[in-house]
Structure formats: structure tokens, C-alpha cells
Subunit: 131 residues, 2 copies
Amino acid sequence: MSNRENVNDEARPGPGRSTCPVACTLDVVGDHWTLLVIRDLLSGSKRYGDLLASKEHIPTNILAARLKRLEREGLLERVPYNEHPPRYDYRLTAKGRGLGRAIDALATWGLAHVAGTVRTMPSLDDLTSAG
Amino acid sequence: MSNRENVNDEARPGPGRSTCPVACTLDVVGDHWTLLVIRDLLSGSKRYGDLLASKEHIPTNILAARLKRLEREGLLERVPYNEHPPRYDYRLTAKGRGLGRAIDALATWGLAHVAGTVRTMPSLDDLTSAG
């Protein structure tokens, strides 16, 4: 199991847990792979294979776990495009697209501070209006 | 060792690595604890004990490793306040403070979507001007 597997499964603050909105957001999406999956979905709905083909080479078991978790948390929905065998398009809900501003800010920082990075994401305006 | 320990130590894209600025930013700061340490430093310089006292209870070995890494990456600097024994204030550089917009966006999302969260961070305007 990857060291990035064990993100906290509880998104809601409980007794003794932090009520900080940054900490609680990171409980939901605060691992590398989850944020990259959301990045890929910001430009529009994707199929499993599209997400797997992303150039960071997300392992298939991690991708499957992240998609399930994001669906459970209401950040994405699955839309069937084939019945036998069952196949789905994955697309962000409004709640999921709400992370566009944070991901855009991470991209802006990377472009400014990490040599060799190239903007390939849509602009923030496109992100926030994308369906 | 925590499952959050093994973040990639290479911030620069190499041959075959992603040039996506989101992915490269996450290589530097894309773990839960690192972003929480930066959150704490956004409001001003802190001592080791202040950071350890944050309510998410960061383990001391992870805090020490994250501070070293952030210093190595040029996101924070140590300013000595005691010589014997050596003690330091930790403060963000301009590069580190540049993550304020992303962290503010994560906070805004958490406030909107995670029940029970309470804003305790300074506003983005304060963050971007804080020394």
C-alpha cells in the first residue's frame, strides 16, 4: 500500500479534532494524488483511462480508491456511458469544482518558483465556469 | 515512520517527470503537515514550541523534518534568538508566503463545505502583507 493511501477518512471535525478549515479541507483532499485527480477533472469529465494516462502515472489502485472517496465526499459524480460492461464518465460536482481556486493558486506558485514548469491547465476563469 | 513522511525530495522536474506546475508544487508542499506548518507561519514568525503546540498535534520528528525541508527549499528561514543552547525563530520567506493564496483558498473551501469549521486564519490581505 502506498504511503499516500492512509488519508484520514473523516472529513467532519469531531471532539478534539481541529476546526481549522485548512486542516479539515486537507483531511478530504490533502494528498498529492487526490489534488492531481481533481486537477485533471477541472477541465471537464474524464473516463478512467484518461485519468490513468495522466503523465504523473497514478497507480490504478490509488486512482480507484481516490475516485471512490471523492464520490463519497460529494466532489465528483459518475455518469454511466456503457452498461455491459459498466463504464463511467467522472465529473466534478460544484463542490469539487470549488477547489479550482486552490489548485490554480498552486499552479501559479509552481510557475513562479519551480524551474521548468509549464502551464497546461485552463485559466481560473475557465475552471470556475467549466461543467 | 509516518505514512506522510515520504514526500518526494526532488522539487525540480527531471527527464520524464511532470512539468505541470500543480504536480511540481505538490512535490514540494503536497503533504498535509507541510501545508499546516506553512499555515501557522503565515501569521508571522514562530518558535519550534509554538508550531508543536498547534492543535493538530504534529509529531515532533515530522515537524523537525518539515522545517528542514522548507528551509532547504527556500520557503522559510531560521533566525537565532538564543546562542546557548541554539534556538531559532522560523519565518517564511517571500517564496513561502507566496503559498498564502493557495492556503486561503483551501480555507475558503473548508468553510463552505466542511461542517463545524471556523476561520481562525488572518485574511488573505493580511497574509500577503505579513512579514
